[in-house]
């Protein structure tokens, strides 16, 4: 785990806590960066590595929960909240908005490290997903216009004959286009092609009436 590239961000206004947490996370062999306020965290340059944000709720410039709401729209690492006196409404709110955990001070290292590991795993998965999708998009961009027309017809389940009639080309020509599409998108089977189209959010424009319903 420690071999992977990663980063743990800690935001707490109390320097003693910041210091102690950095020490604790570092003692577990992880890379850690600490900030004294939400503003400092937002302003900092962050590499694209999988990350985790350990966020104190009571911050001098903005409440941690509000910061969570603020960054919810964009891409951000999963959050582990820490607080001096946790209450149930804050906890519910934090978890509902996607926080990994909410820990009340003082907390043991087991709880904290478990939460940080979960968060990093989540972020890693998120990044991998994002990277896979990016590759697919590149491949899709390599398709010719005709091949882009053929793709939705094929994944909609039309027979070659039907798709060819739809485009006004011969069945043989369509089969050639189809083969090119599958090769370019690296889809070994039609089922793979359908999954890829789904990830690319290509709409199903046709359906085989009477046969599928």
């Amino acid at each position: 785990m420690s071999t992977d590239e990663h980063m743990v961000y800690i935001v707490d206004d109390d320097p003693r806590i910041r210091e102690a947490l950095c020490e604790l996370v570092a003692s577990h062999g992880m890379q850690v960066t600490a900030f004294g306020s939400a503003g400092a965290y937002m302003a900092a340059q962050k590499p694209g590595a999988p990350a985790c944000l350990v966020l104190d709720i009571e911050l001098p410039d903005i409440n941690g929960l509000d910061l969570q709401g603020l960054i919810a729209g964009g891409e951000h690492p999963p959050i582990v909240f820490i607080t001096g006196h946790g209450d149930i409404p804050s906890t519910v709110r934090a978890i509902r908005h996607g926080a990994v955990d909410l820990l009340t001070k003082p907390f043991g290292d087991t709880e904290l490290m478990a939460a940080i590991r979960t968060a990093l795993a989540q972020d890693r998965a998120r990044l991998a997903e994002r990277a896979g999708l990016e590759a697919l998009r590149l491949r899709y961009a390599a398709l010719t216009p005709r091949e882009r027309q053929v793709l939705p017809l094929v994944v909609s389940g039309l027979l070659n004959k039907q798709a060819a009639a739809e485009l006004g080309i011969s069945e043989t020509t369509l089969q050639i286009h189809r083969r090119h599409v599958m090769r370019k998108l690296a889809a070994p089977s039609l089922a793979d092609l359908v999954r890829i189209a789904e990830r690319l959010e290509i709409p199903l424009t046709h359906s085989r009436h009477g046969e599928r319903q």
């Binding site: 003693r16 102690a20 947490l21 604790l24 570092a26 003692s27 003082p106 290292d109």
Partner: protein, 823 residues
């Protein structure tokens, strides 16, 4: 028959004239012209005839003179012819006028009485008139159809005996005073004498209307001899001219001329001139006297004095008019009923009001009384009224009732009706006389008054206050229902002791709380004496014996003279108000307590945060330190750094606690010298509500005469409240007696010793509980006692705990008398 005569004569004269003119036209001789002359003679009256004769004679004379003057010879000349013609015409006219047509009448003036009874009847009537004594006379009337009828005449004098008027004439024989006895009409004079003998005041006239025997009452006056009277004839008037009152003369003359012309008997009533020159009413009658051939020989008659009768009648009529006017104009409805209730008479107002006459106020098929009522009275009133009225009619007593009557337009109006019977000598009811007066306005006013009074009473009774009204001496005369219900006493009841002024004092004792009684009495007496408004808060006994706080206020109402007429008082139940005030105070207390608790909670939270941060850092650092030491190979450098941080953070946590202690000790300037007993009592007040809620009794045992100590009141109170609150919580749910004791005594040394003792389960450790963050309670922060100890120690005292025997805990703190803030 009499009317036919002039017509016949007129027709005859016209016929003659027409015939004569026809002969003249056919023969062309003047003989025919004689006929019109004859006709004129036939038509003309005495005066016209004389003029005709005079005219013809004059014409003949003129013709004769003309003939003599022109020819000297009368016969043969035209003038002679004319003279002969006029003379002939004169002869014809005279002959015709002398013959006339006699009126076909006989004995008309006898009045149809049986001739055999006439003298007796006349005699009786004459006597009656003379003596003024009523006379009854019965005689047969000879009816025109033949066969006699018996008839009765009753003659009554028309005036009281004392009002006899002046007689028309002195007594005496007729003709005695007359100057010339006419020799040509002896029958007429004789007849007049007979009448004079019977009735007096007789007179006679010639057929042409001249006086023969003038009435005696006329003879005595100057210049009124028959000659004088007859002089009127020459003036074209009738002979009565000077005897008749000018107002009636025209009528009299007309009728008299008519009788003279036709021969009909003459009757008239008019005022006759008396001898004295004054006029008196008389009834005059004249009859013609005829010879065997029916020719009128003359007229005789008499004048009966009816002046008194006439005046009496006029008086009577006037009085009757006056009475009926009175009956009609009286502002009320008058009616007369038969004994069975049949209406006999309504006065005009009543008839107009109902639009019904007495005879119409009936309903066919119902008994008269009920029909009468049902046609006039409001249906709702008929039943009871009929009952009462029937009883009255049976018993014959008077009746008085109020009911509604229907007006002609259908509107019902209230009236007050009364009825009384009249009785005959034997006591039988003859008639009922009823009167009713319109009292609609009065009823409406009464109704308005009643509803206004009802409204006021309702206001008084509904107002959420107890209202009373008293005489100037304080004796109550009215109490509203609320007050009566409150006291359980009602005015006027036998058991009410408030009705006598001498017992007023005794009653006050009964209803007013003994503690308030003296003041109430004094103020009440002062207000009664001076008229000052009375206002007082006191306790009043309710009917169930409960004492309730009330506020009584009373004001005097004065009359125009400034004397007190009545006292009006209002009494409010202020129990709720007072209780509300008490509750408000309690609420304020608990609010203050809550504020204290809140500040303590805030303080605790802030302390918690302050302590929590270093604790969290310590925990994290110690974990990191452990990791560095157990790493392979151990990172001693990092572990050393981390261990140093742990020491640092732990110190910082300890600092927080010291800072808190310093916080409570630095408030030296707020200290004042106060009685600790007073502070304890205040704390007890603050906790009273809580104690009540928990069912805990707080017992104070405070030594008296202790000197004041210098203390911060709020902080010491906080200590006390905290200790008492802990004690109560310790006893919660236990089955021991729920008593919290607070003692204050002088300490052994130079100080005071306060002790709070509960009967809870006691303490496991009497020292550990004072450490910060140690709590025996589930939700406790563990700071309360630590702070308390800090406060007490800041005051230079000590706070400790002991377990009591047999159970419970004691928290004791001391405060030095000479307080020096010592850390």
């Amino acid at each position: 028959m009499t009317a036919a005569i002039p017509h016949l004569r007129l027709a005859l004269a016209a016929g003659i004239c027409v015939t004569g003119l026809a002969v003249y036209a056919l023969t062309w001789t003047p003989i025919g012209l004689l006929a019109p002359v004859a006709g004129l003679g036939l038509l003309a009256g005495p005066r016209g005839g004389a003029m005709l004769v005079a005219g013809l004679g004059l014409a003949a004379l003129v013709a004769a003179l003309a003939g003599l003057h022109t020819g000297g010879e009368l016969v043969g000349a035209p003038a002679g012819h004319w003279c002969i013609f006029f003379v002939t015409a004169l002869c014809v006219g005279l002959a015709v006028m002398a013959a006339g047509l006699p009126p076909p009448r006989s004995h008309a003036g006898a009045g149809g009485r049986d001739p055999g009874e006439r003298p007796a009847a006349a005699l009786a009537a004459a006597r009656a008139f003379r003596t003024c004594v009523p006379r009854g006379l019965r005689h047969r009337l000879s009816a025109a159809e033949g066969g006699d009828q018996r008839a009765g005449i009753r003659s009554d004098p028309g005036c009281p005996a004392g009002t006899e008027g002046e007689a028309l004439a002195p007594k005496g024989n007729i003709g005695a005073g007359g100057s010339d006895e006419p020799a040509e009409n002896p029958e007429v004079v004789r007849a007049a004498r007979v009448v004079e003998a019977l009735f007096g005041n007789a007179w006679a006239l010639a057929p042409d209307g001249r006086w023969i025997c003038p009435p005696r009452f006329a003879g005595t006056g100057p210049g009124l001899s028959p000659h004088d009277l007859n002089a009127s004839l020459a003036e074209g008037e009738v002979a009565w001219h000077k005897l008749v009152h000018p107002e009636e003369y025209e009528r009299v003359a007309l009728r008299w001329r008519h009788s003279l012309r036709t021969g009909e008997p003459w009757k008239d009533q008019f005022r006759i001139r008396r001898a004295s020159g004054s006029y008196a009413w008389a009834r005059s009658t004249a009859h013609p006297l005829r010879d065997a051939g029916g020719r009128i020989l003359g007229w005789y008659g008499t004048s009966v004095d009816i002046d008194v009768y006439r005046k009496t009648m006029e008086n009577l009529l006037a009085r009757e008019r006056e009475i009926s006017h009175l009956v009609d104009m009286v502002p009320g409805h008058l009616c007369r009923l038969a004994p069975d209730g049949t209406p006999l008479f309504f006065n005009r107002r009543m008839a107009e009001f109902h639009g019904l006459e007495a005879s119409e106020a009936q309903i066919p098929g119902l008994p008269p009384l009920e029909g009468f009522l049902r046609s006039l009275v409001h249906p709702d009133d008929v039943g009871p009224m009929l009952q009462v009225l029937s009883q009255c009619m049976e018993a014959g007593g008077g009746f008085s009732w109020r009911y509604r009557l229907r007006r002609a337009d259908g509107v019902y109006r209230w009236v007050a009706g009364r009825a009384e019977p009249t009785r005959d000598e034997e006591g039988r009811v003859l008639e009922w006389f009823g009167v009713c007066t319109d009292i609609e306005d009065q009823m409406q006013a009464e109704q308005a008054l009643r509803s206004s009074e009802r409204l006021h009473r309702r206001i008084v009774e509904t107002l959420p206050a107890m209202i009373y009204c008293a005489e100037p001496d304080g004796r109550p005369i009215y109490r509203s229902r609320r007050l009566s219900a409150f006291l359980g006493l009602t005015l006027g009841e036998g058991g009410d002791p408030l009705t006598g002024p001498e017992r007023l004092g005794a009653t006050l004792e009964e209803i007013i709380h003994p503690d308030d009684l003296d003041e109430v009495r004094a103020r009440y007496a002062r207000s009664l004496a001076t008229g000052e408004p009375y206002a007082m808060r006191h306790r009043l006994r309710r009917h169930d014996g409960t004492w309730l706080w009330v506020e009584t206020r009373a004001e005097a109402m004065r009359d125009a003279g400034g004397n007190i007429a009545q006292w009006y008082g209002v009494c409010f139940d202020i129990e709720d108000l007072l209780r509300g005030q008490e509750n408000l105070r309690t609420a304020q207390d608990s609010l203050a307590r809550a504020a204290r608790a809140a500040s303590l909670a805030e303080l605790s939270a802030s302390i918690a945060h302050e302590v929590n941060q270093p604790l969290a850092a310590i925990v994290a650092n110690s974990h990191a330190c452990y990791r560095w030491l157990t790493a392979e190979p151990p990172n001693l450098e990092r572990a050393k750094i981390t261990a140093g941080r742990i020491t640092r953070d732990a110190n910082s946590a300890a600092e927080v606690v010291s800072r808190i202690r310093a916080l409570f000790s630095q408030a030296g300037q707020a200290r004042e010298r106060l009685s600790l007993a007073g502070v304890i009592a205040e704390a007890r007040d603050v906790m009273a509500g809580e104690a009540l809620r928990r069912g805990v009794r707080i017992v104070l045992a405070l030594e008296e005469g202790l000197p004041p100590v210098s203390l911060d009141r709020v902080q010491v109170q906080q200590v006390l409240v905290n200790l008492m609150s802990n004690g109560m919580e310790a006893m919660a749910g236990g089955d021991a007696e729920q008593v919290l004791e607070v003692r204050l005594t002088r300490a052994d040394g130079t100080g005071l010793r306060a002790e709070v003792r509960d009967h809870g389960p006691g303490l496991a450790s009497t020292e550990r509980i004072f450490q910060p963050f140690v709590s025996t309670k589930d939700r406790g922060m563990g700071m309360g006692l630590a702070i308390c100890r800090s406060i007490v120690e800041a005051h230079g005292g000590r706070l400790w705990a002991e377990n009591a025997c047999p159970r419970g805990a004691r928290f004791i703190f001391t405060l030095p008398l000479d307080a020096k803030a010592t850390e």
